[in-house]
Symmetry: C2
Subunit: 120 residues, 2 copies
DNA sequence: GCAAGACATTGACAAACATCTATATCTAAC
DNA sequence: GTTAGATATAGATGTTTGTCAATGTCTTGC
């Protein structure tokens, strides 16, 4: 409905968006934040482009920032649920977490109202 | 390919991700950054959930931050290509820019390598 | 023209963050 | 056990950013 006349007469009352649990919202914000930094986005894109997990040393080699900075970015991406890590000996291998990407995509789709999301 | 043996023997050389033009990368980062702030994400969700554009005054009414702060968030979202604004008299109406959302979604899909993106 | 109201801009400030150097931890090889 | 190398953590620093109060701009109605 929402045909209530406003005091100022500017418009109708907006409808409420789909409820978003606090935990899910926090995770979503963390994921967006993780991808919102140029270097970190490139790190993620490198990792996500591989068929197999990438050695951390290769990530360090590819970027113009220091090893601790790369390590920090990897940690942020991991805590955002976008990549996973597995260790073999002294090496750490990072791979894209497809569930994280799927969650992000699902959230994007959920932003639009149902009728419009279907059309375009 | 990429079966080259590394000096350290840790792994294969990672393949290059899909090239991302600087301008497109910048726009992508701006969009992620715009959604990476809790209040701003909620503002966007409110706007995107509507079938028709929302009056700015309604956004101000709904959030616990000041009017200038809301105005700032709206500007960030607009400059990120996620919402558009149209004015009628003294009022400003904000609506979701579906192209911005589509662009974001397309980027997410492009992160994974082709074979995996199809399956997962 | 003037007053009122809606929205945008400015300037200031505290918190968050990306980055570095230095150091710690942990594994493998000898 | 000691050394070397890969990765993670800690502390410091300059920049970015979210927020507010104050003010500016622009439109409407009298």
């Amino acid at each position: 409905m929402s045909t209530k006349v406003r005091p100022g007469g500017c418009c109708d009352v907006p409808t409420d968006p789909t409820p978003l649990p606090a935990a899910e919202r926090e995770r979503l914000v963390a994921a967006f934040k993780a991808l919102a930094e140029p270097t970190r986005l490139d790190v993620f894109r490198l990792i996500a482009a591989q068929a197999a997990p990438v050695c951390a040393c290769d990530v360090v080699d590819r970027f113009a920032v220091s090893q601790p900075t790369v390590s920090h970015h990897l940690k942020v991406l991991r805590e955002a649920g976008l990549i996973t890590v597995s260790r073999r000996g002294v090496w750490a291998y990072y791979g894209a977490d497809r569930r994280g990407l799927a969650r992000l995509r699902g959230a994007l789709d959920g932003f639009l109202p149902a009728p419009l999301a279907a059309t375009g």
